[in-house]
Amino acid sequence: MKNVILITIDTLRRDVFGCYGRKPSLTPFMDSLQNKCLRFDRAYATGPYTQASFPGILTSSYYLEYGRQKNLPAQKTLISEVLKEGGITTAAFHSNPYLSEYFGWNRGWDTFYDSMEDDVTDLYPFMRGSVINRKVDTWLSASGRVGGDRPFFLWVHYMDVHEPYVPEEKFVGQIDANLRLEKEEMLGLFKEVILKRDTSEFETVALLKKLYSAKVLEVDSYVRELFQVFEQAGVLGNSVILFGSDHGDEFGEHGGLSHDGKMYSELVSVPFFIYDKDRSGGEVYRGPVSNIDIAPTIAHLFSLHRVKSFKGTSLFPLGASGVRPCFGEAINKRGHKEKMDDKPIYYCLKDPWKIIFDEGAGTYELYDVKGDPGEKTDCYGTAGVAEDMKREIHSWLEQR
């Protein structure tokens, strides 16, 4: 049985990848893997920020099931708990406080590194990719890991693309050779522009996007380094590696910055592909899929039974479950503070339509995601399909 490795990159938009159509690509290394990958052209997150999205990825559940709470509810089952019970060794290496032991995400992991004991700086308020890679390297080199009879599940999560955008000089140079900015100035942009969600100056937003792009180049280099670690440890040949992201990031597309409680494509469209060294010729699956299916797919790869609390199903055999609508939910907040009277917001995507329901305002938006991928023209008042989509999202909310 092969090991399974899940690599997730926080705040990574789908449209930064060459393999998803960007020219020039910001992800040369991950693009180079595509001939050994099954790529999902249209994967969607279950929420637009970490707390709303990660329950989808690691517990195959929607954010607000069991109510609004900061901690991971006890009723939810982490993929690590399922696998550990199934005799699989489980290990996690990440640096996202929302997924830390403090919020209850350490359940079921044999090894759980959330970095909360370590010191960080304002410029890099997380452990950088190179540090995460070293931790993984140490773990893999520990005796008995490789070639042992127990397969393992390893989850690696990078925070490097997350604001504040303070990329290394060499990556900035690759994006714009004329761009000169001190690290303190980059931090200043974070405090003065991003935190204030100030999109009034087009040039400043464009500058932020450049810094973000440089961070994407940087994280691609960490993935390259991680693959070297895998190669040296001898696990590359006997592991299936899943790549994904929890959400994207906004650069003024819908009047904001960062990742607030909105359901537009720049936030919920995410990359997803599966690397397998034994696979020949890149394959591309064109239908919509949801991150809700990641945990069930991992359980399936280990030949484990369906888990009762999981809301998704395995993506394999490909297409067997038919094309299902994709859903997401979050708190409709603006800015960095969530207020108690902020209400939930939901989306349902059923080709080619996507409906967004704002519970607080009681309003809907409807977009044709094929004809209008940027989701600029709301056709709720004009499209005849609006009532059907409304029923679709409400019936999901009722039976959820």
Binding site: P97, Y102, F103, D110, T111, D114, D122, A142, P164
Partner: protein, 275 residues
């Protein structure tokens, strides 16, 4: 009562720990080493094994070092005083007097950073805080750093200690799972170079209690009252009203009675632009 197989197993684990002490004393004189002794069950067992090893080998017993965070249980203090006398262990106490003074020795008192000495101000900056004041709590982020890490580093530096023994265990918490028996800490800004030895890494919590009870090693009475893990007084809680060793050690997290550092997590979120 333990069966013979189990006792053999515990003896093997003790022998394994002695190997770590052997390695350490081949490299360092006992006078150059210190045993970190919090008065908790793990460091007390470490000391007990160290004493045995030194007696067997005719070595001087290293001095012990304990850190007073300003929020200690009286029971722990009494335990340390009593057994340092009975076991004839030289015991040094470390305190961050400067912070204690600025807080008026009062928990939750607000400490003004400008009242602190240069070293403490520099340390706050080193861990990435830009604050003017903070509440005095031993297990908050700033508090933990100033009251423990700084006290430790200062002591190592001032006493010229080259190596320390720590009673850490692999099963204590997942973050410890990859800790090595010997770790070299390189010199850095405000951090003196030293070597850390962890002789009892392979003991589980169950092993600790079986060994402690079987060999009648003394322990702090708080464990009998239901505490499983002892930290600062105000942040440690009883897990149950039965002795620690009668609790469900295998299925309930040992440190659940100790508050995970909320402030540290919140600070990370702030730095990422949340909160």
């Amino acid at each position: 009562m333990l069966d013979h197989k189990r006792i053999d197993e515990l003896n093997r684990k003790i022998a394994q720990s002695k190997e770590v002490f052997k390695q350490a004393f081949e490299r360092f004189e006992p006078e150059e080493t210190r045993l970190i002794w919090s008065g908790g069950k793990d460091s007390t067992l470490t000391l007990w094994i160290c004493r045995q090893f030194c007696q067997d080998e005719g070595l001087t017993l290293p001095r012990a070092f304990t850190i007073d965070e300003g929020d200690a249980f009286e029971e722990i203090d009494d335990f340390l005083k009593r057994y340092s006398r009975e076991w004839q262990v030289g015991l040094d106490w470390g305190r961050n007097e400067d912070v204690l003074k600025a807080a008026g020795h009062q928990l939750d008192a607000e400490v003004r950073v400008s009242d602190l000495n240069e070293r403490n101000r520099e340390e706050i900056k080193r861990i990435g805080f830009e604050l003017e004041r903070f509440p005095f709590e031993a297990e908050s982020y700033v508090g933990n750093h100033l009251m423990k890490t700084v006290v430790f580093n200062t002591y190592v530096e001032d006493s010229g200690v080259k190596a320390v023994f720590q009673g850490l265990r692999w099963d204590e918490q997942p973050a410890r799972k990859n800790d090595p028996y010997v770790e070299e800490v390189a010199a850095a800004h405000l951090v003196p170079a030293h070597t850390r030895y962890r002789p009892i890494l392979h003991f589980t919590e169950r092993d600790i209690w079986d060994t402690t009870l079987h060999f009648k090693i003394p322990f702090c009475p708080l464990y009998r009252e239901g505490y499983r893990s002892l930290g600062a007084k105000t942040t440690s809680m009883k897990m149950a009203d039965i002795p620690a060793w009668e609790q469900d050690l295998e299925n309930k997290v040992e440190r659940a009675g100790r508050r995970q550092d909320k402030e540290k997590t919140m600070d990370r979120l702030r730095k990422l632009g949340y909160m």
